[in-house]
Amino acid sequence: MLYSPNEVRETIRMVEGEHLDIRTVTMGICMLGCPAKDPETVAKYVFERVVSLARDLKSAAAEVEQTYGVPIVNKRVSVTPMSLVLEGAPPESYIAAAESMERAAVEVGIDYIAGYSALVHKGATPGDATLMRLLPRVLGGTTRVCASLNLASSRAGINMEAVALMGRVILDVAEAKEHGAGCARLVVFANAPEDNPFIAGAMHGVGEPEVVVNVGVSGPGVVLAALERQRRLEPRVDFTSIAETVKRMAFKITRAGELIGREVVARLGPPSRFGVVDLSLAPTPARGDSVANIIEAMGIERAGAHGTTAALYLLTDAVKKGGVMASSSVGGLSGAFVPVSEDAGMVDATRLGAMTLDKLEAMTSICSVGLDMVAVPGDTPAETIAAIIADEMAIGVANHKTTAVRIIPVPGAKAGDTVDLGGLLGELIVMDVKRFDVSSFVRLGGRIPAPITGLRN
């Protein structure tokens, strides 16, 4: 027999029964060739470029889905950070670019397009400042455009002026849409990767080729099922054997992800090239497809209880080790995701009071995006939001890792309220923030210097 019945059975089980899916196939498109900066030219260029290159993305992905039986949950597009394309352009061009991105997304049939972004970790140019100030208008006026800002890096430190500004901007973005939904499309980063395929923080970095296809694998469901099976079948389970199981599953998931990515690229044809597989375990609101549930399967009653950080470390580390053995093209964020509202287990844990803002901050030292889809009361002061961001940035800068904040101040909501954003965004439970005043700290201005470990040359 060419294949052992065990291999065959496991493949069927993973694909048919355990939510093995590809979370996202994201096409990154370079926009630096925009010939002029007036609003009409920008709008035309952005629209035509996205539509001409990504027109077949959906059909190519659908064909691969059917051939291999592995669903591709999201097909998306990221572009060069718009601040780089538009520096020196009038504000109308920034609006035109965003509207054009929105129209192009509708035209090619994708739900999100990312790259309304700026890199301001050391300081902002006039163009960067324009882009940031226009965020409430841009995110309020669109439904598919995603924005991200890199506010800090391990080489430059933390741009506290930009952090303070973003505290204010996030509140304004929240006001622009019902339930603060616009904030679900706005991420602030430390050490933002250039090849991240995951919305809302995706961007097409300047070191990338013209058109790349990056793949974000998923698979919390597969890992969870494997751990539960291990508990059932093996008489004695310890941490080492759990790590081994996770590693094996991560290997298989990553191999499947790379196959799917390369097949999509093959169908798209030149100039698309395969980029990276992002190894992040990305949950969905579907039951059983939850990172929190994996932590709980290790014996922690509820995610967020003491021990959660250790469990998350074991999980994330094993995923990386398995994934990096499986593919030489690993990139993006590559760490576990714990988006609170998008993970049914995290929602339950928050409702029961197990998961809090402080615990999430601690978990940031392990996972790729720290405070992800976290709702706070709408009356939280801008300075407090800025300080929450600063804490996350500090963890990223000091540890040479990516950290990020996607926080949603829900207008009119109080701690404990529930807000449903629907679809993949899921259900938000508003978390409490500390009410002590931090405004004079945030207003100090300037930049928090880079850590000594940033000086490696």
């Binding site: 027999m1 294949y3 019945p5 065959v8 493949t11 080729p209 191999r255 044809g269 100039p271």
Partner: protein
């Protein structure tokens, strides 16, 4: 097919006066070669032999076999030519490895500034990548009764696909069958999806649970 694997134990068993003659159809494992050199056993390659499991293919230009770099006779009197041959075969191996990793279109996407873009490498990569025909696995399970296998095999052959391997297990009244099917001869413009739908429907019609999936997904996950 029909290759004979020579392991450490075989080396000792086959040794006559400290010499093992390796002939065509034998594949000596790397461990066995190490073992032989430790024991002072010499491997003598007979007519048309295959030097080792990491065989270097025949030189396309001179028709000479690529020398085994680690063997004692790596450089004969014509050492220069042998070295050139080795270089050529290594270049070929590299091109093949790249072709395997990429695919037809990706190869065509090699940027113009890349050295690979010159001298028709992209074309040869594309040619090499086109070789492997697609295969599918058809897995059927259910309660055994007459006609299940017939329904499946006739549905597969109606699609023009070629059954390459079958494995069947019966436990009491339950059966499980796994077919490996080549899709290179799918008839009438059928796609993989059409094939999957038809065969799965045929299986269900005969009272079996049938899953059809592409071989590559299994290879990706289970084969390194």
């Amino acid at each position: 097919m029909g290759k004979r694997i020579i392991t450490e134990a075989d080396v000792e068993r086959l040794a006559k006066d400290g010499v093992v003659e390796v002939v065509r159809g034998m594949v000596v494992t790397p461990l066995a070669r190490d073992h032989a050199s430790r024991k002072g056993i010499r491997l003598v390659y007979g007519g048309g032999s295959v030097p080792s499991a990491e065989d270097i293919p025949r030189d396309p230009v001179t028709g000479r076999k690529g020398p085994d770099a680690r063997g004692p006779d790596a450089r004969g009197p014509d050492g220069k030519a042998a070295e050139d041959g080795l270089r050529l075969t290594v270049a070929e191996e590299v091109a093949r490895a790249i072709a395997e990793a990429a695919d037809t279109h990706a190869a065509a996407a090699i940027p113009s500034y890349s050295p690979l873009a010159e001298a028709g490498v992209a074309g040869s990569l594309a040619e090499a990548a086109a070789g492997e025909p697609a295969r599918a696995l058809v897995v059927a399970t259910g309660v055994n009764h007459p006609g299940v296998a017939a329904a499946l095999t006739s549905s597969i052959s109606e699609c023009g696909a070629d059954i390459q391997d079958i494995s069947q297990t019966l436990v009491a009244e339950f059966f499980s069958m796994i077919f490996v099917v080549s899709l290179s001869s799918l008839g009438g413009g059928l796609t993989f999806r059409d094939f999957k739908e038809r065969v799965e429907a045929a299986g269900r019609g005969a009272g079996a649970e049938v899953v059809v999936f592409h071989e590559q997904i299994l290879n990706a996950m289970h084969r390194v």
